[in-house]
Amino acid sequence: MTATRHETQTRDVDVEPGLATVGLSKSFGGVRAVDDATVTFQHGKINALIGPNGSGKTTFFNCVTGMIRPDSGEVTYRGRPITRKSPNRIAAAGIGRSFQLCRIFPRMTVLENMLVGVKPEGLAHRLRGSRHAADIDRARELLRRVGIDHLEHAEARDISYGQQKLLELAGVLMVEPETIMLDEPAGGVNPALIGRIGTLVRELNAEGRTFVIVEHNMEMVMSLSDHVVVFDRGRPIAAGTPDEVQGDPRVLEAYLGV
């Protein structure tokens, strides 16, 4: 991965193609939640997607991951179109995601939560027992990594919100996605945990995973990301390194209304 930092949002040929959208639009009634959004994320990097509340970040996320069908436009991943594919196909293509308000399987144990994400290989594999030693070892390894391995037998609804966030992240990792989209990983968690999540993201990125992170915590965004895309009213208005974006007058206008 030899992608260099880009001055602006471009689609250079020398960059390994990762996740990109062209003219993506989605309306709810009369509201254009995502409006002709053309975005290219840098493969192998930590990308951030920021913008004021209601700027369409989560809808954009949902269109990209197949949870919502976009009205028009294209989504491509590694050069292949993935527009309007079902979420499970997109997951199989290598894109994992978390949800804004942390979604886990509340009445399953922590370990069972992890085992849902085991990639099935063919019919026989699906019909075999779900508690394979290799899978359980991998699940435990990931739980240890996020720091909740001692909770594996607890029901997921009984653990704290911060722990649920970590479980969700570990569960996504179980699918072994190349690209991980996190919707507000720092939302509603304490500063210590934000630090832990940030460290994890950095480590996982160093191992070659691409991140696309929607986040309001500017400190986290600016310290963590290589590339920042700023959304306003459903479309990107600026993109670049954290420093560039911070100084952009359009960004200041969108955020502060000056």
Partner: protein, 395 residues
């Protein structure tokens, strides 16, 4: 704050006690299962008279219906109130193959159920697109459509005059003997269905289905092909429900659309499964025994009135109010409470705290090595970890 030295031995002792307790529970479970199996298998021999025997067959048929229903309801949480569609179609398919094509009754039974499973594919594709209340309504619509069709298409089904199904064992086998044989046939069907349910339950496929029950979108985002999974289990459910319906048709010997395609029968399946516990293997069977017995009791004692329906409604309300998970999960939770309290939040939080402390140390070291200001952050960690700990206990 517990230190390493005073929690460790405690935890080891607790784990040992837990293992011992689990072993006792397992022995009790196996023993209970054996006793129940002996009781069930000896029921026809011990039944006081043919009437009691026939009640036993009815209850067994209810259990077969409920277990069939629970493939969809239990695994995916999709509550179908219209499962009488599949038992009814199973009954008619079996009866029509025997009467029109003069096939062997047992071949007709199995092939009839296969036919119903095939028909369930398009129905499933259409109805599994919607969730929650919408799915319930679609399931009711299906059974009402089938009721109207089977009533109107008298040329095929004989309509409200009823369709007679010839006795599979011939006229020389007398009623009590026939009841006995059908009782065992239903028990065999239930056993096979339970085996399949158990196999799915422990498979990856089953894990995906249970994830759908918990949070369908989330499951899909983790790569579970939710629609295909729902459809497969829906068809399996239709097959077993149709087998039970076909067996019922062979036993009862007369089919009337009003009783075959009845919302009430579908509601029985739901009530029985909910009462016993839809997440557990034997839940629907236990529910069927209780509800089936109660229904027969009320019919015998208050047969001229609709009191059995009132009783049914009351039971459903009580179950939903006080035992939303059903009897078996409620009992299991009670048994768990008898055992050592390893699973309590407090214990976990203490361990959690310990783990957090260790990690905090490690992270602080990492930070220090990266020459970031570590002192203020570490202090911050301490208070927030404590807060998280308290939050965890409050849940």
């Amino acid at each position: 704050m517990p230190s390493v030295s005073d929690t460790r031995p405690d935890r080891a002792a607790l784990a040992a006690r837990q293992t011992r307790f689990d072993r006792v529970v397992r022995v009790v479970k196996v023993a209970a299962l054996l006793v129940v199996a002996v009781l069930v298998l000896s029921f026809p021999a011990t039944a006081a008279n043919p009437f009691i025997l026939s009640v036993g067959v009815i209850i067994a048929s209810y259990a077969a219906f409920a277990v069939g229903w629970n493939f969809v309801g239990g695994f995916t949480g999709y509550i179908s109130l219209g499962h009488a569609a599949y038992s009814g179609m199973g009954g008619y398919a079996t009866a029509l193959l025997i009467t029109r094509l003069e096939w062997n009754p047992w071949v007709s039974l199995v092939l009839g159920a296969v036919l119903v499973a095939v028909v369930a594919v398009p129905i499933g594709i259409a109805s599994l697109r919607v969730r929650g209340a919408s799915f319930v309504i679609v399931s009711i619509a299906v059974v009402l459509i089938l009721l109207l069709v089977s009533q109107s298409w008298a040329g095929l089904t004989n309509g409200s005059n009823g369709l007679r199904v010839p006795r599979p064992f011939g006229p020389e086998v007398l009623r009590p003997e026939q009841h006995q044989r059908f009782f065992y046939l239903f028990v065999a069907l239930i056993a096979v269905a339970l085996l399949v349910w158990w196999l799915i339950d422990r498979s990856r496929f089953g894990m995906g289905l249970k994830a759908i029950r918990e949070d369908e979108d989330k499951a899909q985002s983790l790569g579970v092909p939710t629609f295909a999974y729902k459809l497969v289990v829906f068809v399996v459910s239709a097959f077993f429900t149709a087998m039970a319906g076909g067996l019922y048709a062979l036993w009862f010997g007369n089919l009337d659309p009003v009783f075959q395609f009845s919302i009430l029968v579908g509601s029985y399946m739901v009530l029985m499964s909910l009462l016993g516990g839809i997440r557990s293997l034997f839940g629907p069977v236990l529910g069927a025994v209780i509800v089936g017995y109660a229904l027969e009791f009320f019919k015998v004692n208050f047969g001229d009135t609709q009191f059995h329906l009132v009783a049914l409604g009351l039971m459903l309300a009580l179950v939903v109010l006080f035992m939303p998970d059903g009897i078996i999960p409620a009992v299991a939770a009670g048994v768990k409470r008898l055992g050592p309290q390893a699973g309590s939040i407090r214990e976990m939080s203490a361990a959690d705290l310990l783990e957090d402390n260790r990690r905090r140390d490690r992270e602080a070291q990492e930070r220090a090595s990266r020459t970031e200001p570590a002192t203020s952050q570490a202090e911050d960690d301490d208070t927030t970890t404590e807060r998280e700990h308290v939050g965890g206990s409050a849940r």
